[in-house]
């Protein structure tokens, strides 16, 4: 598979281009039925984007235009005069994208207002808005599947490491208390939101090297508070595991909408997101943020591994995971260890939330819920309750999600990971590193 790509584009665009190419392929097969409609949704909706695609004053036919935003998307193909119209349901901001692979050879979008081949557009006082792109000559270079694979692997490792930070927390909590914590996704979001509060330009605007540590610290405090207010009383009361799990679901819902209440429904950015990329090892180009993010993940994961394997509390944690009553009988303060585990797992979740905010990029009230299932998939794949298994599972899931986009459309990339989760449970229910007795 060869895919057209511009020379000076960042990796995110490569994903877009790849996605675009897949879409274009599907468009070729499906436009036959979708007809050569140059107008779509103009009858149903009042708000209409329109445009005229021309290159050197010559209209271009059959260029694919896509509109996306507010949960709505549509696409049209330009007519013989190069014209197109798309109706949209709301008066709001939409992203309009021109599919560069449907432009003639050697023609690309050279619009200064456009990012790549996309433009954001909003309605003014009227219900119509015309959106035009400047087209110019440009070199489109083709990237081989191996180069893409390299880039996907690098991205997958980054994503997997970030996932591991969150997954280890879930795994430690499960190991020590037996709880599958559905509210973990909100601890991830909490970290990112605190980062936004302290470092976001719209809020306090402190430098990120101050804001991020404070956000991680506050996440730890958040974990302690949740344990103190909710989990510890429930443990003392002897409430059943399934009950506590449903409590965590209720907590997850409540927290998620509390975030929406205070931060609104928009996506916001941390400073420095989407920074310039540097060429790194041949075809793989990663941004400075990506490199720093991977370095932070690796250092923190090593520290956690050291803590688990070498320190007293870490050993106590593993002892409780193994057999809580025996651990308590041998003089381990189970309650104290569980409290520390909650604090640690919340801090790790907060950190992974910040890193994920850079990876996506963007911060949104329900961002954590988006990866909760991947976290669970990683933990289950690695073996429920084994901390190092969570690391292995996360890397597998991260790589799988990213590499699968080479073969399947990127809106299905999570499906691959979830299918593998179910298949692994079929043949090896205890997970990769789990022990058989755990599945009961």
């Amino acid at each position: 598979m060869e895919v057209a790509r511009r020379t000076n584009q960042r990796k995110k665009r490569a994903i877009l281009a790849l996605f675009g190419a897949v879409l274009a392929l599907m468009a070729i097969t499906s436009t036959a039925t979708a007809a050569s409609a140059d107008e779509i949704g103009t009858d149903e909706y009042d708000y209409i984007f329109s445009g005229n695609v021309k290159y050197n004053s010559e209209p271009l036919e059959d260029v694919l235009i896509k509109v996306d935003g507010n949960g709505y998307n549509a696409e049209v193909v330009t007519d013989a005069d190069g014209k197109w119209k798309i109706g949209v349901p709301e008066k709001a901001e939409y992203t309009i994208t021109i599919d560069e692979s449907t432009l003639p050879e050697g023609v690309i979008v050279t619009d200064e207002d456009a990012s790549g081949a996309s433009k954001k557009a909003e309605f003014g006082l009227t219900k119509n808005k015309s959106v035009n792109f400047f087209l110019g000559e440009g070199v489109r270079e083709t990237t081989s599947v191996w180069d893409q694979l390299g880039e996907r692997i690098a991205n997958g490792l980054n994503f997997g490491l970030m996932l591991a930070l969150a997954a280890i927390g879930v795994s430690l909590v499960f190991g020590t208390t037996g709880l599958s914590n559905f509210a973990h996704s909100e601890m991830v979001t909490f970290g990112a939101l605190m980062g936004l509060v302290f470092s976001g330009t719209a809020y306090l605007g402190w430098p990120i090297w101050v804001g991020i540590p404070i956000a991680v610290l506050l996440s730890a405090v958040f974990g302690f508070t949740l344990d103190f207010v909710i989990w510890k009383p429930l443990r003392k009361k002897g409430v059943g595991l399934v009950q506590v799990m449903i409590v965590s679901i209720g907590l997850s819902l409540a927290l998620r909408y509390i975030f929406q209440y205070f931060f609104g429904g928009d996506t916001q950015q941390l400073p420095g997101a989407g920074g310039a990329s540097v060429d790194f090892l041949g075809p793989i180009s990663l941004s400075v943020i990506d490199l720093v993010s991977m370095a932070i993940s690796i250092v923190v994961l090593l520290a956690v591994a050291f803590w688990l394997l070498r320190t007293r509390i870490g050993k106590a944690t593993r002892a409780i995971s193994d057999n809580p009553s025996l651990a308590a009988a041998s003089g381990i303060d189970v309650d104290r260890v569980i409290r520390i585990v909650w604090i640690l797992s919340a801090a790790l979740a907060g950190l992974s939330g910040i890193l994920w905010a850079y990876f996506r990029p963007g911060i949104k009230w329900d961002m954590g819920a988006g990866i909760l299932l991947l976290i669970f998939a990683a933990v289950t794949l690695g073996g429920l309750g084994t901390a190092l298994g969570a690391l292995v599972g996360s890397l597998v899931v991260g790589l799988l999600v990213e590499i699968s986009t080479l073969f399947i459309p990127s809106d299905l990339k999570y499906v691959g990971a979830l299918v593998v989760l179910i298949l692994v449970l079929l043949v090896r229910p205890q997970g990769i590193l789990g022990r058989k007795e755990r599945i009961g």
């Binding site: 009950q243 449903i246 679901i249 209720g250 459309p409 299905l412 989760l421």
Partner: protein
């Protein structure tokens, strides 16, 4: 503030299609969770299969509306079998994670661009009503009814059809659960190993329970699709969690619990969605915007779920002796 209007809008939700659909899906969940102890977190997928099965068979294959409902049911049965084979032998929390993952797979497959021809991806489906409306036995013109319950003939037909389904479902569950078969299910919920020691095939019973509850879920999806459209954004994980709130509110191991739970859930939601904006417009809730009032309603759902599970796990109608939570 117009209290008459607010109460009117609230009372209208007593018989709303949403209320009926959620009640049906919650009845299915009561078979899974309340009576068998299966932690099915994928009820949203059963609903999606019902709704999409109904709409796609009419739109893409031109089948009659009642065949569409059968297709939805068959899709749910197939999904239950595929889901059950790898997971029903596993521990409860594994089942929870796998069902939630499978539900997400189903949702993503309905939302993706790949099957746009059939599912219309993120835009959802509509305009499949002709057949169902042609079968409408009520033929009056305009609207009829009294108080808040004034409906057109088509609206009345959707509600009557839905209520008949709910009544049938409740009756079936009632008869099943007092049969020997139902006692085995409750036995599995209380102590799986004991039932196995009696020589029962626990796996087969769990599978039958998953299928039956799944069918009710699919019917709930159909009822949700009947009045207007199939919107993919509805069938998310949160939908399953709302169903759990409804189920636990009414009582997980009861016949009428899911129905009453759904009515309470929707009436409170409708009341809040009417009263909060009115209070904000009158300046009685300083510092809150209209958008925030919508978030507040869902915050309350989450808090309510936590409080019910902690303080009244058997629900409003449940019997405390009947343990609704395994382990």
């Amino acid at each position: 503030m117009d209290w008459g209007q607010i109460l009117n809008n609230t009372a209208a939700f007593l018989f709303a299609p949403e209320t009926i659909a959620y009640a049906l899906a919650a009845i299915g969940l009561s078979v899974h969770f309340g009576f068998t102890g299966l932690l099915n977190f994928g009820q949203a997928a059963f609903m999606a299969l019902g709704a999409y099965g109904y709409a796609i068979s009419i739109l893409s294959f031109g089948l009659p509306w009642w065949v569409g409902i059968l297709v939805g049911i068959l899709a749910a049965v197939a999904f239950a079998i595929v889901l059950g084979i790898p997971t029903l032998r596993l521990r409860a929390d594994y089942l929870a994670i796998v069902t939630i993952a499978a539900a997400e797979i189903v949702r993503l497959l309905f939302t993706t661009q790949v099957f746009d021809e059939y599912t219309n991806s993120a835009d959802g489906l509509g305009n499949y009503h002709a057949g169902f409306r042609a079968a409408n036995p009520f033929t009056y013109e305009g609207s009829a009814g009294f108080g808040p319950w004034v409906w057109t003939a088509n609206q009345l037909w959707v509600r009557v059809f839905g209520i008949i389904l709910v009544a049938l479902a409740a009756l079936i569950v009632f008869l099943l659960m007092r049969s020997p078969w139902g006692r085995v299910l409750k036995g599995i919920r209380e102590d799986e190993d004991a039932v196995r020691a009696l020589g029962k095939n626990v796996f087969a019973y769990k599978m039958q329970s998953l299928i039956i509850g799944g069918i009710f879920g699919a019917l709930g999806g159909v009822v949700l699709a009947l009045p207007s459209a199939v919107t993919p954004g509805v069938y998310v994980t949160s939908l399953t969690f709302f169903l759990y709130t409804i189920l636990l509110l009414g009582g997980a191991a009861t016949i009428f619990g899911p129905i009453i739970g759904s009515v309470i859930f929707w009436v409170i939601q409708a009341f809040l969605s009417n009263v909060l904006p009115a209070l904000i417009n009158d300046g009685l809730l300083p510092g809150m915007s209209l958008v925030q009032s919508a978030s507040l309603r869902y915050i309350l759902v989450g808090v309510a779920l936590m409080l019910i599970v902690i303080f009244r796990p058997q629900g409003i109608f449940g019997n405390k002796k009947e343990l609704t939570f395994v382990k």
